[in-house]
Symmetry: C2
Subunit: 239 residues, 2 copies
C-alpha cells in the first residue's frame, strides 16, 4: 500500500461526481488539506475511520472464528466510508476488492464536527443517511430470502452502481463490479450455490451472461418479483 501526502490543494483529488463536485472550493480544500491518498490492490487492508472511495471497490470484511468470510458492506466510487462508531474488533476491516484508490480523511474529523464548515457536514450527513438506508435494505435482503431472491436483489443493486455505464443501463445490461466469490460472501451463499443460481436464471431466460462481468436483465418484471420475495421455499403441500 502506497501513501501519498497532499501538500497543496488538488481539486482533482475528489471524485468528480455528486455530491463531491458540488462543494465550494474552500470546503474542497479543507477536506484535501488533511487527507492522503491510499492506493490499494485486491486484498489490501487499510486502517482508516473516514474516507472517500476515488476508484475501485472497498468492503467491510469480517472473518468468523472458523474462517468463514463475511462482507458486511460494499462501497463504490464516490462513497463516503465512516467507521467512527464501529468498535474495531467486531466490525472488521476495510479491504479492497480490486485495485482501488482511497482518500483517507481521518485528519479532518475535527473539521467536520466544528460548525465552521456547514456544507461538508451536510454532505456527510446525507451520505450517512443514504448508507444507513442501504444497510437496512441489505439486512432485509439477508434476513429471510432464498439464494435465488438474494441474487436477483443484488443484480438490481449493481444496476444502480456507477460502474454500469448509461449505454449499458439503457439496454438493461448490468456491470458486475466484483468477483463471484465476493458476491457470495456479500449475500451469504457459497460460490457454488451462486453459480447454480445464475445458471438457473439463465435457464429461465430471465438473465443472459454476456461476459463474465456483464449480465443482461432479460425479464426485469419477473426479476423484480423474485427479488421482492416471489420465490419462497417450496411447500410440501400440493397446490
Amino acid at each position: 500500500m502506497e501513501k501519498r501526502q497532499h501538500d497543496g490543494p488538488d481539486l482533482a483529488a475528489l471524485p468528480n461526481r455528486l455530491p463531491w463536485n458540488q462543494l465550494d472550493e474552500p470546503s474542497t480544500r479543507g477536506l484535501l488539506n488533511a487527507s492522503y491518498l491510499a492506493t490499494l490492490n485486491r486484498h489490501d487492508h487499510i486502517d482508516a475511520e473516514l474516507g472517500i472511495v476515488r476508484v475501485g471497490v472497498l468492503a467491510i470484511e469480517r472473518a468468523l472464528s472458523d474462517g468463514r468470510r463475511v462482507l458486511a458492506d460494499l462501497f463504490h466510487e464516490g462513497d463516503l466510508i465512516d467507521l467512527s462508531q464501529s468498535k474495531r474488533v467486531r466490525e472488521g476491516q476495510l479491504v479492497a476488492l480490486k485495485p482501488s484508490e482511497f482518500l483517507v480523511l481521518d485528519g479532518v474529523r475535527s473539521e467536520i464536527s466544528t460548525v465552521g464548515n456547514a456544507s461538508i457536514a451536510q454532505v456527510i450527513m446525507l451520505q450517512l443517511r443514504h448508507h444507513l438506508a442501504r444497510s437496512r435494505d441489505h439486512a432485509a435482503d439477508l434476513v429471510s430470502k432464498t439464494p435465488l431472491e438474494k441474487a436477483a436483489s443484488v443484480l438490481f443493486e449493481f444496476q444502480r452502481w456507477p460502474d454500469t455505464n448509461d449505454d449499458d443501463r439503457q439496454r438493461n445490461m448490468v456491470k458486475i463490479p466484483i468477483q463471484r466469490v465476493d458476491i457470495a460472501d456479500y449475500i451469504g451463499v457459497k460460490p457454488e450455490t451462486l453459480s447454480r443460481i445464475v445458471r438457473q436464471l439463465e435457464g429461465e431466460f430471465l438473465v443472459k451472461v454476456v461476459e463474465q462481468d456483464r449480465i443482461l436483465l432479460a425479464d426485469i418484471p419477473s426479476l423484480r418479483r423474485i427479488a421482492n420475495g416471489g420465490r419462497p421455499r417450496c411447500s410440501t403441500k400440493k397446490a
Copy 2:
C-alpha cells in the same frame, strides 16, 4: 393511534437519557415545538420520517410478497429513527412491537439542516453513525451465521439495551424486550427453530430461561465464542 400536539415547551417529553438530556434548553425547546407524541400499541404502524422512541420498542417491518415478515431494524427507548433517505424502504413501515410512545419530529427536519442549531445536528449525526455501525453488525450476523450463532449474538445485543436494568446486568441476566416471533423475524429464522435453539442452549447449560422474558447467560465465554462463529455447520468429513 393517538396524537398529542405540543403547544408549549415540555422538557419531560425528551427521553431522560443520553444524549437527549445533554441538550441545552433552547435546543430541546426547538425540537419539541414542532413535534407531536404518538402513542402506539403492538402492530400499530406510524408514518413518520424522523423521531425519537420515548418508551417501548419500534421496528422497521417489511413484508415480502408471499407474506414473509422481516424486521430490518429494532429501536429501543432513546433511539433516534431517521428514514429520510429510505426509498426502497418505502415498502417497509415503522411498527410498534409493544405499547410505545414515539416522538415524531418530521416538522423539525428543516431546523436541523440549517446550521442554526449545531448541537442538535451533532447529536443526530452521532446517532446516525451509531445506528449505521449497528446495522452493519446486524448484516454481518445475518450473512452466514447459523441460527445458533445468531441467537447467541442477539442475546448480547439485548444485553446492551436499556431494558436490562443494572442489577440484572451485573448478574448476567438479560431482559428479552420483544416476543419470540419478533426475534425470529429479526434474525431470520422460524419461531420453531428459535424455540429449539433456546432449548439446545439450555441443554448445554449456556443459558437459563428464568422467566419467559428474562434469560441468564450462564457461560458467557462459550456464548461469545458461539456468537463469533464458533458453531459452523457440521462437516460431512469425519473428524
